[in-house]
């Protein structure tokens, strides 16, 4: 998702008029969501639990910045939850979704229809 620079709300794509503030697409009106630099902050924090939630703590090593279950050592894009060795390769998106150093290889799956 991206963030509308006008109203700061997430929108699905910069190609659409923002459904919230109705700003039309411009040359660079929207910014791709960047992870706040929580340098080394474990991003995976659970729903609250009864007076004792999962902690959010600084991560010293083997950090998993996008919370997809794969550390930055294992993950070829640790800023994208949907890119990791456990994902299927999606055909036609020109992304190495499954981190096998191949893009849109033969075994890829067709993307889900919107």
């Amino acid at each position: 998702m991206e963030i509308c620079i006008e109203c700061q709300r997430h929108i699905k794509t910069s190609l659409e008029v923002c459904p919230f503030c109705h700003v039309a697409p411009r040359a660079a009106p929207f910014v791709t969501m960047k992870r706040t630099a929580i340098a080394a902050m474990t991003p995976f924090f659970l729903a609250a639990c009864y007076g004792g939630p999962m902690t959010v703590v600084p991560c010293e090593e083997n950090c998993d910045m996008d919370g997809d279950g794969y550390s930055e050592q294992e993950d070829c894009d640790d800023n994208d939850f949907w890119v990791n060795p456990g994902e299927n390769e999606v055909c036609g998106d020109e992304i190495d979704n499954n981190c096998n150093d191949e893009i849109d290889e033969e075994e890829c799956v067709e993307p889900e229809e919107e």
Partner: protein
């Protein structure tokens, strides 16, 4: 079953990468506090809690299945006999050990022992300023103990963090509490809303109304922005406030749906396994580790696998038609289920409150069924839409 039965060597080979990477483990239900909003109704130990030998076997199994981070909770985890032995075993197995505590009796010696056993960080639950916290925690003096514990944690060389449940008793204490925690050296603060489970379910008047998101989230975002300049991270927990204009300030990435049972596992003190520690036991326990293997529970029970490959088919109400439905998938399963009796429709949502406000309406939660009075139980609420009063959205 805790036994030596052959198990798959690599978990990822059999489960498309899903594995219990983050585990939250209730070592005991015994507690030295008596919180009036406790979702697990903690106090006494469960009748048949796991032995330390069983715990050590589970640690081995978790390490084998790829667990990287283990959070010990309770009750109060340090009241479990030989809890440090479990911590040490997990740390020795390469698992990062954390703990969440009420902090009443985490004295300097105990903090040092925890650090020596391999504990890396401890989060102290602080639920407001002194009078409110002590009322909620039902123990006078418990607030002061929290801050002593934060100091003890830091003195022992561990990272001190904090977490707070906000509700209608303490919602006006957000800023002073945040400043206080920052002054006491916490590095991160997780803010959540009190969920309607256990004793909290008995306190309808304490719970947020959905439209409280409209006033609470801007304040939280302002505080988080200020805290960031001081090197402190304030984050919204997964049970509140999705997709308003502050989403990018309050979460590392935008909310992407419940992942209970995909990368998260919760273990209750008697060996019951859930996809998330917060989930109510009745509908979400997949099995007991005294009766089934962890692999069997993880791989083959609906209670553990419901988020894997999940679409929007089980969304309902507002969430079914929401712009963010495919990303959010109805928010927090725990909070939605314990409010409304099934997951997939989550009222504590900032985007939802904003959209409804645009239409001139707001939602109110009304309890229609009491909780039966057992750990992790819940009643049932219904959503009533009403005209949005002008101009003060936060008044009940």
């Amino acid at each position: 079953m805790i036994d030596d039965a052959p198990q798959p060597r690599r978990f990822a080979n059999t489960s498309q990468g899903f594995h219990p990477r983050y585990v939250v483990w209730e070592l005991t239900l015994k507690c030295d506090l008596a919180c009036r909003h406790c979702g697990s109704r903690a106090g006494k130990a469960r009748p048949s809690e796991l032995t330390v030998d069983q715990c050590l076997e589970i640690v081995d199994k978790l390490a084998e299945m790829g667990t990287k981070e283990l959070v010990f909770i309770g009750g109060e985890a340090y009241l479990y006999p030989k809890w440090l032995q479990v911590v040490r075993a997990a740390a020795d197995a390469g698992i990062r050990c954390l703990m969440t505590t009420g902090g009443r009796n985490l004295n300097p010696a105990l903090a040092k022992q925890a650090a020596a056993a391999g504990m890396k960080a401890i989060s102290v639950s602080v639920d407001g300023m002194e009078a409110t916290h002590d009322r909620l925690r039902a123990v006078p003096g418990s607030w002061k103990r929290c801050f002593e514990s934060l100091q003890n944690i830091q003195d022992a060389g561990m990272v001190a963090t904090s977490n707070t449940q906000f509700n209608r008793l303490n919602m006006n204490e957000l800023e002073p509490l945040g400043e206080r925690l920052i002054a006491h050296g916490v590095k991160a603060w997780q803010v959540q809303v009190t969920g309607p489970m256990g004793r909290a379910s008995d306190q309808q008047d304490w719970l947020f109304q959905p439209y409280d998101m409209l006033t609470f989230m801007p304040r939280l975002a302002a505080l988080a922005t200020h805290a960031k300049t001081l090197g402190v991270e304030i984050q919204a927990a997964n049970n509140m406030g999705y997709f308003g204009p502050y989403e990018h300030l309050l979460r590392p990435t935008h909310f992407k749906g419940c992942v209970a049972g995909s990368y998260v596992l919760g273990i209750e003190a008697d060996g019951s396994v859930k996809g998330c520690p917060s989930l109510p036991s009745g509908p979400y326990v997949g099995g007991k580790l005294t009766e089934m293997s962890l692999e069997e529970i993880w791989n083959h029970t609906d209670a553990l696998t419901f988020t894997r490959g999940r679409g929007t088919e089980d969304l309902w109400g507002f969430c079914k038609t929401c712009y963010y439905a495919e990303e959010c998938k109805g928010g927090c399963s725990w909070t939605a289920h314990t409010l409304l009796g099934k997951r997939g429709n989550m009222p504590y949502c900032h985007h939802r409150a904003l959209e409804l406000q645009q239409r001139g309406i707001r939602e109110r939660l009304i309890k229609v069924e009491e909780a039966p009075g057992k750990p992790f139980d819940f009643g049932r609420f219904e959503i009533v839409e009403e005209p949005f009063p002008d101009p003060s959205p936060s008044k009940p």
